[in-house]
């Protein structure tokens, strides 16, 4: 049976402020979904909510991975169950070498029942594997000795996220603007790598403002988020349309969501009383 990630009527608030207002989305393993939408529409919020970031409060709705209730799981349990989020803004952890970080991560994700303190995967085996993966991504081994995202350029951070995706081999991955900050060559390489890593084995939710990534990873479904809701779902054609024409048509077609968008943005700029 194919694995399914199912999000139903998801409502999410941050600091009491509603951001997502009823998101429905079903992704089967092996499918590629593109998630588009103007800045601030709630795309990253959806990613954080799926992974269980503590600041994102689920006020209604559900997320299931097959028959598992994802909302009942701790963040790391979600990772071990096969969910992955490549962050729009990866976090740096000074003093922790990327290789050590990934060895620990890979061990935990591959052995979901591992208890703290139990053996990590053997160094040799791990080194060989990470070396292969880094070669494939045209990354220098020296890179793995650097501290996690510490002093990385924007592009380096995104490539490090892709390396982690490649090592962890999740069932479902949300790639939040993994293509931004990369130069033209790097985008091509990243797009190709993601296609190689993903393929049949992964369900991908690609959040992007560009079209290169989608060229190499043509989505079966393209979704548009506006004002905290997915307002339209189409094919790759929809994604292309939005790239060339922007969101005017969408805003006109969905006045309620457009109004919600305005409201969200207004609240942001209005001074606290």
């Amino acid at each position: 049976m194919t694995d399914v990630l199912k999000i139903e009527n998801l409502h999410v608030a941050v600091e009491g402020k509603p951001i997502l207002k009823g998101v429905n989305l079903t992704i089967k393993r092996g499918e590629i979904h593109a998630l588009m939408g103007p800045n601030g529409s709630g795309k990253s919020t959806l990613g954080f909510a799926i992974m269980g970031h503590p600041n994102y409060e689920i006020t209604a709705g559900s997320i299931h991975l097959n028959d598992q209730d994802v909302l009942e799981m701790a963040v790391d349990e979600r990772a071990r169950a096969g969910l992955f989020l490549a962050l729009q803004r990866p976090v740096s952890i000074p003093g922790v070498r990327l290789a050590d970080f990934l060895r620990h991560a890979t061990t935990n994700v591959r052995n979901p029942d591992r208890k703290e303190g139990e053996e990590l995967i053997p160094m040799r085996e791990f080194r060989k594997e990470i070396k292969d993966k880094m070669n494939h991504l045209s990354m220098d081994m020296e890179f793995a000795r650097r501290y996690v995202n510490d002093g990385f350029s924007g592009g380096e951070m995104k490539r490090a996220e892709i390396l982690q995706l490649a090592m962890l081999q999740p069932k479902f991955a949300i790639l939040d603007e993994t293509d931004s900050g990369l130069d033209a060559d790097a985008v091509r390489l990243a797009s190709q790598s993601i296609a190689d890593i993903g393929g049949e084995n992964m369900g991908l939710l690609i959040i992007t403002h560009h079209d290169k990534l989608l060229e190499h990873n043509p989505p079966q479904f393209a979704h548009v988020m506006l004002g905290g809701k997915i307002v339209e779902t189409g094919t790759v054609k929809l994604a292309q349309e939005l790239h060339t024409d922007g969101y005017d048509r969408i805003r006109k077609a969905y006045p309620e969501a457009a109004a919600a968008e305005l409201e969200m943005n207004e609240e942001e700029v209005s001074p606290a009383v």
């Binding site: 701790a74 990772a79 990866p90 976090v91 740096s92 952890i93 003093g95 991560a105 962890l168």
Partner: protein, 439 residues
Amino acid sequence: MSASTVTEVEGFSPAAFDRLIESRNEPAWLQELRQSAFDTFQSMSLPSRKEEEWMRTDIRMFHLDKFAVPEQVKPEVELPLGVLRQGVDVGGSIVSYNGHTVESNLSEELRQQGVIFGSIAEVLEQRPELLEKYLLTKAVDPHFDKFSSLHAAFFTGGQVLYVPKNTVVKQPLHALSVLGPGGVDLGHTLVIVEEGAEVTMLNETASLDNKAPGMHCGAIELIQHPNSHLRYINLQNWGQGVWHFAHQKAIVERDSTLYWTIGALGSRLSKVNQHVALVGEGAYCEVNGVMFTEGKQHLSYHTLQHHEAPSCRSNFLYKTALQDHSRTVWRGMIKVDNAAQKTDGYQRNDNLILTEHARADSIPGLEIEADDVRCTHGATTGKIDEEQIFYAQTRGFTRKEAMRAIVIGFFQQVFDRIPLESVRDALGNAIASRVREYE
């Protein structure tokens, strides 16, 4: 385990002092040294928070009369091996229990080279002139305060390391001091490195019972002759019921290098004065401090890097992580004498607060009398970042594993400066095992 050491209630009284002198067949110069320290001890009261040095360190709960001069006793259980020598081929080792040496050995090869490594009593037999010259005369001042005078008057055990001229000692030497429940340790460490010599010493402390009360009032003296190289690693790992008072001083002569690592993990309360005097041109000292505190521990470190000669460099880095209600005080001073032109002094203290109620005070200071110098200092205090924890969790780390990794990462910069792997591992493991999970 029974309290095995405090057999008399007379504490550190004149009677106790007389008995100590009688029981030890020591040369006149040492008896005089003890006597004059004892006079100072008696004339002083315990420091109070009115004194600048003790403003942030409250010892009203410390009752000296609960402790006494330690008797020589056999430990009732097997003593731990210590963590610093794991996987290290040591050239000699000394173990003391409640301030008395219980084991002392040195490899024949090093003995042949003229290296001396033994208890104070042993060296007093073999080379009294060496102790007369260096013990509590050049570095630590017995009359500095109540604790230095207590130490000088009453010290029992301790270890001496002497490395002769141009002798390069490859194997580290290891000393371990263990306290039993209720025990007292007045141990003294004296290291003398002659001209052109080179050595590494591992010095650590431990308690049999992590909760039991105890007291350590000690001193460390490091004497480096010109062009000598010393790596001194000091792990303070007393149990959390131990009161720890120490005066530590290094004298570094011309073209010598001193790499001094301090791990401070244990004790109920610590008040340590660490002083490095760069007295000869071109001397270099690097200090790496790693502190981790928890529960209600209070660790107070006062460091002084004193540039007395020109063209010396000093580089102090102290990193501290604190959890629970623990507290640390770091007071660093770079002092540059008029003569010490071309000084390059650096000091830094970074603190990572893991829980709401922990508190770290950093007080860096400069006192500069020369004009052609470069001195920089800095201090930071921050909390653990929830975004880092979340990020690591999205990669499968449990919350606790994430916190551990972040805390160890915080220390990595100072670990990178520690030359010995066994020391890095010991400190890293000790800290990792202490980090708990917080919401």
